[in-house]
Symmetry: C2
Subunit: 435 residues, 2 copies
């Protein structure tokens, strides 16, 4: 057995304490797989965490201490946030240490700079835990599917949002009601903006897309639409049409460039990914050789995230003596080989659409309205129109269009909204077949 790899852990929250516990519980097994012992030698944390014991481990109250400790080979960054974490990771890299992090915001927003620094210093920055928790999706995309031209990927990559959508559908509860429960259960933060507005999913999508298409991280160009305004009635109408609404992160390589978008999406209920419920995550990847593959598992939680953090550590440990400092480039190709395709403006992205109109219950309305769509070349694939309730003068009218871009659709919508038969703003959701 060669010398032990010395690990330094910065941050001792839920994931940090799970890393301590899993390393202890499965230590012998993990060492056998890493082909050498891993030793958690130094923890930097402002305070202890009752969820784990640090007996026999050097502890510093300065979270940066492990990054400056000359004994440490691999620094595990679990402090979260972006500014301090960035400083910490750059410090570790500068000190010649490999870095493992679970920090999606850090990688999505500062990854390009961190990878360049790591490459210059001959160390690795690993981030499997940053996307989809315990699912080894980075490894799958970067190594397992390396023969493929990736055509598109679509993921349920925020557990909080998926929990809310699942409850809305299965229990018929509205968004705010379920959000409160999610907060009580610890699935959602006190300020849920990052989750429900799709920012967290956009961080993860930016990472997956950069790897899939061998391009720099482009979080700031990701279109993001949340689920906060999603109405229960649309969940029900979608179901009636054979669809489920999921909050998807979608990246697609097309003739005009790369689409990067997070939004509520209708998908056919027969797709496996439509049946991924609760806080679970799943990523569907379409490669030109392999076809579609789906990867499902826990997207959050201490132990599941620790599973990916430790897998990264084992990967580094297995090659740490290999001489080749960066065995697998962070974004699948070397920093110098990254390409920068255009990012398609959301206005130009083509999808099918679900529309809910509220129209006056008068003769000829359906014809008048659908003409606005056919006039701009949009055909209607499905319609739901029901009789009004006794005291109602308007009825909901649900339309499913064929594939079109938002720009063209907007012309039709403008036309409809100028009609007297139209009684309210039009609800618009995107539809993806994912076939």
């Amino acid at each position: 057995m060669t010398d032990a790899i010395q690990l330094g852990l910065c941050g001792l929250g839920t994931v940090g304490s799970s890393v301590v516990n899993v390393l202890k519980r499965n230590g012998e097994l993990i060492n056998a797989r890493a082909l050498r012992p891993l030793k958690l030698a130094h923890v930097g944390a402002r305070r202890d965490n009752p969820l784990c014991s640090l007996e026999g481990i050097r502890v510093s109250r300065d979270v940066f201490a492990p990054a400056d400790d000359p004994e440490i080979d691999i620094v595990i960054e679990l402090i979260g946030g972006t500014e301090l974490a960035k400083e910490l990771v750059l410090r570790a890299i500068g000190n010649g240490k490999h870095v493992v992090t679970a920090n999606k915001a850090l990688i999505a927003e500062h990854g390009n700079e961190l990878f360049a620094a790591a490459s210059a210093n001959g160390v690795q920055v690993c981030f499997e835990a940053a996307v989809a928790g315990g699912i080894p999706i980075i490894k799958t995309l970067r190594e397992g599917l390396s023969a493929n031209r990736i055509e598109w990927l679509a993921g349920i990559i925020n557990g909080t949002g998926n929990f809310i959508l699942t409850e809305m559908r299965s229990a018929g509860r509205d968004f705010n009601d379920v959000l409160k429960e999610a907060q009580k259960k610890g699935y959602a933060e006190a300020d849920p903006t990052f989750d429900v507005e799709g920012i967290d999913a956009a961080h993860k999508l930016a990472i997956l897309a950069a790897i899939a298409f061998g391009m720099p991280l482009q979080f700031d160009k990701t279109f993001t639409e949340g689920i906060t305004t999603l109405d229960l009635v649309d969940v029900a109408f979608a179901e009636e049409l054979g669809y489920r609404i999921k909050h998807l992160g979608i990246a697609r390589m097309g003739a005009r460039g790369v689409e990067l978008r997070v939004h509520p999406t209708l998908i056919p209920e027969k797709r496996l990914i439509a049946n991924v419920d609760g806080v679970m995550n799943a990523v569907l990847i379409k490669g030109d050789a392999v076809g579609a593959t789906l990867h499902y598992g826990a997207g959050a939680g201490g132990d599941a995230t620790a599973s990916s953090v430790i897998a990264d550590i084992v990967d580094v440990a297995r090659v740490i003596d290999g001489g080749s400092s960066q065995q697998v480039p962070p974004l699948s190709v070397s920093q110098t080989a990254l390409e920068s395709p255009d990012i398609v403006d959301i206005e130009d992205v083509e999808t099918a659409f679900y529309l809910r109109l509220s129209v006056l219950d008068e003769p000829g309305v359906l014809s008048t309205i659908t003409r606005q769509f056919s006039d701009v070349g949009i055909s209607i694939e499905a319609v739901i129109q029901k009789q009004p309730a006794d005291d109602e003068k308007t009825v909901p009218l649900i339309l499913l269009t064929n594939k079109t871009c938002q720009k063209t659709l907007q012309q039709a919508i403008d036309g409809v909204q100028s009609l007297t038969a139209n009684a309210a703003p039009i609800v618009r959701l995107r539809v993806e077949n994912l076939g």
Copy 2:
């Protein structure tokens, strides 16, 4: 750019020609990911394959020629079978070449010997394509989940069988009828024994289990039960009880050792894996840290299999100069660290059971029969009994038991079969919750 890696391909069937085509189609992309050019330099094949062009590639009619070619770095074994393939792979290893193979029978039956030879010669033997086609399941289990103690795994790892079961359920067609269609579509061989008797699945299960539990390959100890005698009526009763029947390969680490078994299995229809239909494959893995993860995709087909073959080549190419000859041990831990837990006899494996009896339509029958089960400590979790058709003297009686071992169940079955109320042999299928 460093020197090109020279690839030698042995065998030019469906997968071989796909490897040629995908390497050509995505060559630039694959080279960027491999960090150096891959050059298909020598093909050994008895005859050309019209599905691909070998222009500019040295071709030998002796399939062994690439293994003896001093220019070749990596030999791709795609000739199939076991004896000749074993000889070829040992020859390549002896010549100091890395080997990539898609041959599950070869690995399952001779892997221990091949890995020992590879280790002694400082080369790698990679076999991602041997299990579940294009799904990177070996990599997921061996690297992505390396932090976990694997508790169990269960897979739909034979597409032919899954196609047949899917058609039986969805179209109400019987086994032989669907088998004929599968043969016509090219999903099943003229002699379908390997697929429908579970031998192919047992090969793959033995490989997955060896990696999951860090033990030598033990194909010969795998219990195998096919789907040839599966009756349509049981598919329908299973559905009535909320289950689907899938032909699963299951490996489980328990207190008494490792269970290794392939058999038709009732699983709750709400599980994602119960909804994996047609020729698709999926593997569900339960790790102690990550929980359950599911990995889904095409289990066969030229391009999907080539996807995994080429991913292995890229893996080897990325580390070929690294000095460390076997970065990731074939069975997850080094050859010397493999352990040999007991393999549990199928008689001692505990599961719930589905039973279909044919009983006389007489008063007190249900009580008499169920007493046979309670007498040996088995409780009945669900029952279906229907009124007999007008001209029938017997009725089917469906019982779902709690978890028990086959030995105990057999006592109850012996008791029932001695009763005059019992009119026919009892159909018995295992049930797994997979929760």
